[in-house]
Symmetry: C2
Subunit: 271 residues, 2 copies
């Protein structure tokens, strides 16, 4: 894998996301799964160290936003990349259909509430991006509303970035055929039945429509301050290396510093 995985995966701000031109089966230059597993191990170790420094510094935060179609591996990626990372200072939030007081507010209200405090690494399993994707197949909002929301989202993330939260956005890019296989597996394997819902088939029926909308969303909301990345997701190990690699890059760039120790510690003898 090239060192800067972000360079090959980024959706350049102002350019078309071009999902069709990106291969969901790409291996990021890794020969086989064994290489990927080794890479992931090194990356998650580095991630744990960096996250610990971010937490000790307590001045800035990082927000990872994960989006992708059903079975693209959001849950799996979270399990594999963040197992081993100190859960203190690392919070995962799953956004489902809004309930309770959530729908009584604007769509960014629950998302803003859940944003990570200084020192934290926050992970969004789905996010405000559902409000410009899931709301459109079948259409619950019109194109003009979607265009307004693109602007809200760009400006919301600009504010987060200005005020100390680095936003890393990753779209898990799955092929139509691999989605078919994974959904079939959920039906065939009793241990995976709980993950299957009939609505998944309806959504799959709109596969091309979702690709088109995601392409638009990625194009419209990839910015200098919060760019999108497209992670090839047909191979789970590639997907995990991509996410871990992107996170390590972001944290390396932030280079969080453990606070200086109190002066005079060298003279203290604990008795």
């Amino acid at each position: 894998m090239a060192k800067a995985v972000s360079t090959s995966l980024v959706v350049k701000p102002g350019k078309h996301a071009d999902l069709r031109g990106r291969d969901p089966g790409d291996r990021l230059g890794m020969a086989d799964k064994a290489v990927g597993v080794q890479q992931l191990e090194a990356l998650t170790e580095r991630l744990a160290q960096l996250q610990n420094r971010l937490w000790a510094e307590s001045a800035r935060s990082v927000l990872l936003v994960l989006q992708g179609l059903d079975a693209s591996g959001k849950d799996g990626a979270i399990r594999r990349v963040f197992t081993g990372v100190n859960p203190q200072g690392c919070r995962i939030v799953s956004f489902k259909v809004p309930t309770g007081e959530e729908p009584a507010h604007d769509y960014l209200w629950r998302v803003h509430r859940a944003c990570p405090p200084r020192g934290d690494l926050g992970i969004f399993n789905r996010s405000h991006y559902e409000d410009v994707v899931a709301t459109r197949v079948p259409p619950k909002i019109d194109d003009a509303t979607a265009a307004h929301r693109y602007r809200h989202i760009r400006e919301f993330e600009r504010m987060l970035n200005d005020e100390g939260t680095t936003v890393l956005k990753v779209f898990l890019h799955l092929s139509n055929d691999e989605q078919r296989k994974r959904l079939q597996e959920r039906l065939d394997d009793p241990a995976k039945n709980w993950k299957f819902q009939k609505a998944d088939l309806d959504a799959r029926g709109h596969w091309h429509e979702f690709q088109r909308i995601y392409e638009e969303v990625l194009t419209e909301t990839s910015t200098e301050w919060a760019p999108w990345h497209v992670a090839p997701a047909d191979h789970k190990w590639v997907r995990d290396v991509a996410i871990a690699g992107l996170l390590v890059e972001v944290l390396d760039r932030l280079d969080p510093k453990v606070p200086p120790s109190d002066p005079g510690l060298e003279d203290i003898l604990v008795t």
Copy 2:
């Protein structure tokens, strides 16, 4: 008072707020206090009816943002304008110095959380505007950060407006001399002592600096979707009529509708 009080008080988007050109002692064309008291009574009655319809409709919300120097009458205005309005569906939030988990997040985090749900009339006694005013005397943020925040705030309020919250912003415009009198009163009247803090004198020492910053803030953040209004505040009764008048105008324009009744109610006899 002219019917559309907003026309005379608004800071036109794109124009300079020109506080020096606005008279804090203005009476909005009312002959004397007796006229004002009568006006206020009519306005608060109308306000109560409209707020009830807003609450019944439960589809949109209104947010009143009150800003002003010490002793400009924010607390007094809230007491006089909203006593008599159904407290259900009407929530007042006072923003003081951030505490607890608030300072661990961006400055809009606690403000967004407190925004009114559909059906509610929300009142902010101070607001996110303190983050571009109080933070600058003495300066805790630089001018570049303030300029970034102007943009965040404009875009945040645009989003609120797009998603169903009408934002009404009122600056209580008090003269230097009237502030002096009111602060002296707080010192002289034991019943008002609790409202006085020594820090108020420090702030008063920076009176001209605060005027300059408020002028900049009003100029930079008065928008088509969330314009500022400058309410003359030297006369408390004028201030109250101005706020109530502005709110009634906003609610009249929204024209909230009580939901239609269930069909067939006319055939039901309660036994």
